[in-house]
Structure formats: C-alpha cells, structure tokens
Symmetry: C2
Subunit: 333 residues, 2 copies
C-alpha cells in the first residue's frame, strides 16, 4: 500500500486508485478535501467525486435515528459487527447539527464503538462541522460516494432526533431505522409524528432483562399506531421489532428485515426511483446554495443587493419586491 | 363602511383606505390575495403591502408555542381578551406546517376561541395553506403587515411545537412564549433544547386545582435550567411563570411581564435591531425562492437545467458540478 506523507499532495489519479484499492488514509484525506472550504480543495474534491460516481457500486444506505439515550452507538456497534461477519464492509457516518454550535459531534468519540472502530472491515467517520445543516448534508452525501467507491457496501448514517437532521438523513438513505425506548404512551407523544412516518423500521431497543411486558406493550402500540399511516411508495410495510443491543439479542432479526427490505426494493426498482428523486432534490439544494455564493462574489450584484436590502430595512419596499428587483437585475445582466 | 360584493374587485386605493379604516372584509380579502399564487394577485398584494409598510405602526409581535394539549387556544383566548380590556386590538395568526399535508390547520376551528372570535377588537386568521413552510412563513409575515396597518397593535402568532415551525415563528416576532405542562423531569427531556433557548418567557399552564406542588416544582426546574443558557442579546432574562388559562389565574402577571419586556427592548432599541435582522433574513429567503421560480420560467435556463439534472441522475457528474454549470450559465448569459 502506497504511503503518502502529510506534506506530499496526492494527484487525482493517486486518490482514485488509492480509494478504489481500499487505502483508508487516502479515503480519509479525500473526505477532508470534501470538508474543506478552500476553492482548490473543492475543485479537487469534486473531480474525485465525479470519478467515484462512475464506479456505480451497489450499496445499501441505512439511516438510524433515535432520541439521546436510546442506545444508538451500541446498536450500530452490534449491527455493524454482525453485518461484517456476514461478509459486508461497513462505513459509519454521522449527521449532527449540534456540532455547528458546540463543535462537538456524535461519533467524535470513537471509543463508544470500540469493537467496530478497530475492525479492518469498518470505517467510522464523525460528523463534519459546518456553518449550515445544508453544508453538513452535502459533505455527508459526498462522503457516501467515496466510501462506496472504497468498497463499503453498507453505509450506516447516524443522526440524533432533533430538528431537521432526520429529514436530511432520510433524504440520503434507502432505509430508515427509528430506535425507541420501551414505554409506549409517552414515547408516542414525545417523538415527532413526522419521524415515525418516515421510519421503515421501528426498533424498541433496550429490551434488556426483565422489561419484557413493557417491551411487548410498546411494540404492540407502535404496530397499532403505524397502521394508521399511509402505505409507503416502496410498498414496504413498516416493521416494529424489539432488540437488546447491549445483550446482543434480536439483532439477527433486524438484519433479516433489512435483507427483506432490500430484496423488495431491488425487485420493484424503488431503490433506483428513490435515489433518482433524492439526486434531483440535492441538485436543486446545491443550486440554491451556489446561487447565494455567486451573489456575494459579483460586485455589481452585491451592490444592488445592498441597496435593495437597505430599502427593505427602511420599510420602503417589501422583502418580496426587493428580492424581485435583485432577481430582475441578475437575469437582465 | 363601504361594502364590496364578492364579484367587484376593489382597487389598490380602496384596499388601502379600507384596511386603514378597519374594514375587516377588505383586510380578509387582501390577505386572501397574499395567499394566492396567481401573478395578478401577487402583484396587487405586493402593492398593498408596500403601501401598508409606509404606515409604520408601533406593534407588538408575540409568538406562542407549546406541545399539543398544553392549552394554547385557551391561553390565547384569555390573553387576547384581557389585552383588549386594557385597550389593545389583537390579531391572532397561526403557522401550522401540518396543514401542508392534512390541509387542516390550527385556528381553523374558530369555535375553540369563541369569546375572542366574536370580539370586534379581535381578528383571527387561520394558518395559510402552502406547499412549503417557507411559503407559509412569507404569507404570515405579510399578513402581519396588513393587520398592523389595520390598527391591530398586538399580533399573537400561534404555532405547534413540531419541526421547524417554531424557528420560523421566532424569526418574525419580538417576544417568544413557550407554554409547558406541569411535570418537570420528563418535560425538560421532551421539549427540544433549541426551543427552550429561544423562549423569552416559559409559562407552566394548567396550574389548575390541586396541582400546586407539581407546578411549583416545574417552575423551579425551568428556572434552574434556564440559568445555564447564555444571556440574550435583548438583555432580557427569560422568565418562568405559572398560570391557569382555564381558571383565568396568572394571566395578569403574564401581561405584566410582556409590558416589562417591551419597555426594556424599546429603551435599549433591541426591538429595532431585531426587526432589522429579521428583515435581512427574510430578504435573503425570498431571494432564494424567487431564484428558483426564475429558473423554471426561463426556457434557456430550464433546458440547461434539465440537461444537467439528467447528467446528475445518470451519475455522470456530481450534483455540485451540475449545479455549478447551471450557475455559470445563468451568470454568463
């Protein structure tokens, strides 16, 4: 395996060859390029991504969410380890909006997954920092492409159950797992309806020791509740299971359901339809963010923007009319 | 008061004069124009808004959020009624993202506020429907301007505690109230930290009957918790009170705190600084949404967009590179 010093900058083809041959150091350095804001890095990163896209790997992208304390790390540790035992290669990524403020991040402490993090078939990468959730999302999506090119056929993306991050993760995965704690009534209240609706698989974790009646009751409540939702366009009926990641019980059944799901969506082609819709969505999102960058880079537009912003601030025109004038200026130029 | 039939279309000046003289029918029809997507209606609506902006009313914009079941309607009913008794005119609006899916909406059922809805000094308008939360937000912001022009000096904006709607409402108000249920421990878990941080006033509602110890404990817990947060740029220290909207106890103290807050932010000018920042933010948001409209209205750009989107879908280029090419095309044209 070629070694690159920190100082020597690999070329595009060195990156591509390195990533494809499973060189983790080059993979990590390429991801760091994705996370960079320097225009030179952005350019190289995009070239690497475009090359990696051509490899068209067959992968499974799985999102995992749940409130803090539900045991996401232990669950991912067990799930990842068992998937590797079945012959898979597993990458674990994270989308953590709180890292925008605290600069901390989930997965930052790899020791929380000490079995998985030392497994040569696993690759764990903490959430990128970023000024916006949109930026974090783009970087994570691009990291998925690189990990797939590096041969990881199962991508697990962890997120905490706050704000918009689940929606973002849902828009980049094929399968979406919601982890729950035993204790039905309150749980059903506490978790946002929208997230339960997004879930393909609700798993009551911490079915440990003597909690059996409560676990059964929770599973039953969710099964009942999920009946009320509309059928999914994947034709998949959302499953509700129990497991104990800590005691390593029920994970095999989780893997079975994952197999069933991917069998179904490969047969009915939902996997491709869904990924195409996701790509359309992200294309649009990226366009929006580049448009903003462009406005602030062109002096003439910037001037006009400032002028109209001031008019809006002075209450002379509505934000809508002000924005309309900027648009007219941009498109008439 | 001039009457207009449903068929006769009022002119711009008839709208302005009608709104300013407190004609509720014309106010409602102008808001319906804001909610319309027809270009003719949008144009007229924007002219009305621009005229109304010039009136520069002195108003208080107050956001109210809380989980379903916390008693928002009863609280608003009591707060609104007592504010009117003190000489104010009160408009009640709503931002309800769920109305995008269900087409239902909070405030849709005005009978939930039967005292307030029949009060001639109150104006109640349900959440606009919309395809996006951004669209709903713009319409609500513009509705605020019209209500203020119509003489309503207190604007109460209700939202349910799900997803991004509180953040949206927070970005259009001067003061943000979070309603809570008695029962400290779980409550502190259940409500997203970000929302508690946004609150200027946390009110434990349903301090009814014999719940006194629990209410006191909840208030104390929140007071402790809020100590941990950073000081607000308004220099206001977030208050925690209890009230029973149902039994009409404690609402007078709520009004006192509202008075204290607006006294402070008028003195230190935070009210203007904050509104200017909000206007800047909304200007940018509107620009983004108009940019998207523009792309889909220009045939050349639309063609290029479709071409590049297809390349992205075929995995030939990354969404970033595709979007960059669209931007280059738009800005070089």
């Amino acid at each position: 395996m070629t070694q690159f010093s920190k100082r020597k900058k690999p070329t595009l083809s060195e990156y591509i060859n390195g990533i494809q041959s499973g060189n983790r150091i080059l993979l990590s350095r390429a991801i760091t390029l994705i996370e960079s804001t320097s225009p030179k890095h952005v350019k190289l990163a995009q070239e690497i991504i475009s090359e990696c896209l051509k490899l068209k790997s067959k992968s499974r992208r799985i999102g995992i969410t749940g409130a803090p304390g539900v045991g996401k790390s232990t669950f991912i540790e067990q799930l990842g380890t068992q998937l590797i035992e079945k012959g898979h290669q597993v990458a674990v990524l994270a989308v953590d909006p709180s890292s925008q403020v605290s600069k901390g991040s989930i997965l930052g402490d790899k020791t929380r997954m000490d079995t998985l993090s030392t497994n040569p078939k696993a690759y764990i990468r903490p959430s990128p920092a970023g000024t916006s959730l949109g930026g974090v999302a783009r970087k994570t999506r691009e990291t998925i492409i690189l990990c797939e090119a590096a041969g990881y056929d199962t991508i697990l993306i962890e997120t905490v159950g706050v704000g918009q991050s689940e929606t973002i993760v849902h828009s980049m995965v094929d399968f979406f797992i919601l982890l729950l704690l035993p204790g039905a009534g309150d749980e059903l209240q506490g978790i946002k309806r929208g997230i339960v609706e997004m879930a393909d698989f609700a798993i009551v974790n911490k079915a440990d020791g003597d909690r059996d009646p409560l676990v059964k009751q929770t599973v039953a409540s969710y099964r009942n509740a999920l009946h009320l939702f509309q059928a999914k366009s994947s034709n998949w009926v959302t499953k509700v299971n129990a497991c104990s990641a800590l005691e390593n019980r029920g994970i095999d059944k989780v893997i079975n359901e994952i197999e069933n799901y991917f069998k179904l969506i490969n047969e009915n082609d939902f996997i491709n339809v869904n990924r195409q819709n996701q790509a359309k969505f992200w294309f649009k999102e990226t366009l929006q963010s580049l448009f903003e960058t462009q406005i602030f880079e062109n002096m003439d537009i910037q001037k006009r923007y400032n002028l109209l912003e001031q008019k809006v601030l002075d209450g002379k025109i509505s934000p809508f009319l002000g924005a309309q004038e900027v648009i007219d200026f941009v498109f008439k130029k």
